[in-house]
Symmetry: C2
Subunit: 400 residues, 2 copies
């Protein structure tokens, strides 16, 4: 039997406890032993919960109980979660988490600590919710040189974009709707501004390319400035606008990572990913493109990934730490400015002026005093030079 | 250092040798040791190959060399491959393979032998080529009760169907084209008739549901009778015809598995999978739907999966056999006859007669003396009873 402690009884934490009960037989069979929740740590009290007697309000109880072999951290953030994670490992316990912020910011340090103590720090649920993605990258694609990863990594923003497209509603209305449906939090800033996507693409890049990326240094744009008019033009192109996190290996020891809304033509399968679903594309030199799709958030899908990690940790106590990356050097992250792509541009000018500035363009549509067109392949740097201070209405990379 | 021997120097075997050379650093780093091809077994000689000195023509050399820890079997079939696999395990070597026929037919027995000898028998490449699917099912989704798996599992037939749709060509012409492009073998029977898909859905079901399924007992229909007219009607419905392998858990200890062309509406993401790509959907009670997409065949994609298994075997010599299933009982497999679904039907009759026989129908199109319509949900058994001996032009399940 393996005893676990769940830190934080929010959506994911309660999902983990529920799933361990619901799929008790399957989980015990997979782990080749009984998996038992011994403690739940939460500052709130849940007197009416069927698990009421498992609640403790002091981490020390868990820390000092040698029977607890695995700690599930679903507190979130980099405060108590960070401290308890380190103390758990120092106390000889493996840690499983869905906390993408903590992994993106302090993952390398925690992995190093876990390595020293010969324990596991597992976080499949931190990217793509229930979608198997970190283990496939680190194990199934281990014979590949991976050169690019990109994906729709945030369900909330994808739901909003789907709503804008489907109902022709404005960003504000779609956000309201997402809140009403429980898909967006009261303060949706981290989702809307791409910060959540940024953390996830950093974790993917850390794992695939082997060195830590500081999320603060990754250029990140959200969806708050996407207009119905942009959407309509994308539709004319047979394309959709999606928020994409993207990381590419450039030369040896250099990686480009960024988050931005992209125009995705219909030929890109990602363009068909709607609502709260996530989808991740991994490009390797042997496999070509592999794609992973599923529910990127939600109580049970996320718990599914957490509990799979618990099972894995239970089976590999004091063994296997296949997930690891190094500290990155200062110049490891290079700027997407030099990266060429095709672009979609809307600007307050006529066709003649646009051609004068950008050279050969493909016009998508024209209104009095404004034009929409595609141009490139060209780098952002060259675009900025060509613009020479002129402002655009909107501008998106096209991801073919 | 781990020494491996590659049995069979065909497409996959030569791909494995090539990939180990190309990605030498990445593979050694992943395996935490050097991976070296010590022998290649083939009845043919390759005097001009850069690996000429590695070739042996007698399996005994490999069997009797204790330095060889992992045997890669890419011979195919159930003859020499079966014998050499068992002898390798008995000689204390883990075995990695892409041989779906052998796994589907004798997998359970070989896994049992490997378990007794505390060795690994790994076959990620046997389903979905390079797509990570078996490990995600057995590890990442281990907290789920999986209740259904289905997918496009054969690249050759999917290429043919894509060609028929795109160019409006007949099955025969599309097959010719596939042969010219090297996507279909000289004798494409196993692909065309769904036999290859059957082997793969059996392996997926074995793993996901825990007991062996005999491929010979799985109802299997191929694509050879799909006509341009069927395709055209599907298009009218905004749908596509795809060859799908499907397995569902019914009640406890009962599984339905079958292979047949299905009508897939646009809303099913599988309908967008074109050409030689494969795609597999796994449905679990926590994750919901997860989808895995990529190249289902080809030299390097398949080698990518084989070498990942080699790396895994190298890291877990004399340990971990997470892949295993039991012998199935006689009544484990139940008949898809009772499974309800919507159906697409073409028949030589008028609307009135069709309604008299089937009750409420949705007409897709009508020609003098023939009608195309959808009906259901209804089971195949009830359909057959209603037909009462009448013949149909064509009939497909609709997979919503």
């Amino acid at each position: 039997m393996v005893n676990i402690a769940v830190l934080g009884y929010g959506v994911v934490g309660s999902g983990v406890v529920e799933l361990i009960k619901t799929n008790y037989e399957k989980i015990s069979s997979s782990a080749a032993q009984e998996v038992k929740v011994k403690y739940i740590l939460d500052v709130r009290s849940f007197p009416d919960s069927p698990y009421a007697e498992l609640f403790v309000d002091s981490f020390e109880v868990i820390e000092n109980d040698p029977q607890v072999q695995i700690v599930v951290e679903t507190i979130g953030g980099t405060g108590a979660a960070y401290e308890y994670t380190k103390r758990s490992i120092l106390a000889g316990k493996s840690v499983v988490t869905s906390n993408k912020e903590l992994v993106a910011v302090h993952g390398q340090e925690i992995l190093e600590l876990a390595r020293q103590k010969n324990l596991n720090y597992l976080f499949e649920a931190s990217v793509g919710g229930g979608i198997p993605i970190l283990r496939p990258i680190s194990q199934c694609l281990s014979a590949n040189e991976i050169y690019e990863i990109y994906g729709i990594l945030n369900g909330t923003t994808n739901y909003i974009l789907s709503q804008m497209l489907l109902n022709g509603s404005s960003f504000e209305k779609a956000l309201e709707n997402a809140k009403a449906k429980g898909y967006a939090e009261a303060d949706p800033t981290a989702d809307i501004k791409g910060i959540d996507t940024c953390r996830k693409i950093c974790i993917l890049a850390d794992l695939a390319f082997g060195s830590h990326i500081n999320p603060d240094r990754v250029p990140t744009y959200g969806i708050e400035n996407i207009t119905e008019e942009d959407m309509a033009y994308a539709k004319v192109m047979g394309a959709k606008i999606k928020l994409v996190g993207r990381a590419l290996r450039r030369e040896e020891d250099s990686v480009v990572a960024y988050v931005a809304p992209h125009i995705l033509p219909e030929s890109n399968l990602l363009s068909n990913v709607e609502d709260v679903f996530n989808c991740i594309v991994v490009r390797g030199n042997a496999i070509g493109d592999a794609m992973f799709y599923g529910k990127g958030a939600g109580k049970l899908p996320t718990a599914s990934a957490v509990v799979a990690d618990v099972i894995d940790a239970a089976k590999h106590f004091n063994a296997r730490k296949y997930i690891y990356w190094e500290k990155g050097s200062e110049d490891y992250l290079s700027d997407p400015l030099l990266m060429e792509s095709r672009w979609f541009i809307r600007a307050e000018m006529g066709e003649e002026e646009a051609e004068k500035i950008f050279g050969s363009i493909q016009v998508i549509g024209e209104k009095p005093g404004a034009i929409a067109f595609t141009v490139g392949p060209v780098s952002e740097k060259v675009l900025i030079e060509k613009l020479n201070g002129r402002r655009l209405i909107s501008c998106y990379r096209i991801l073919d």
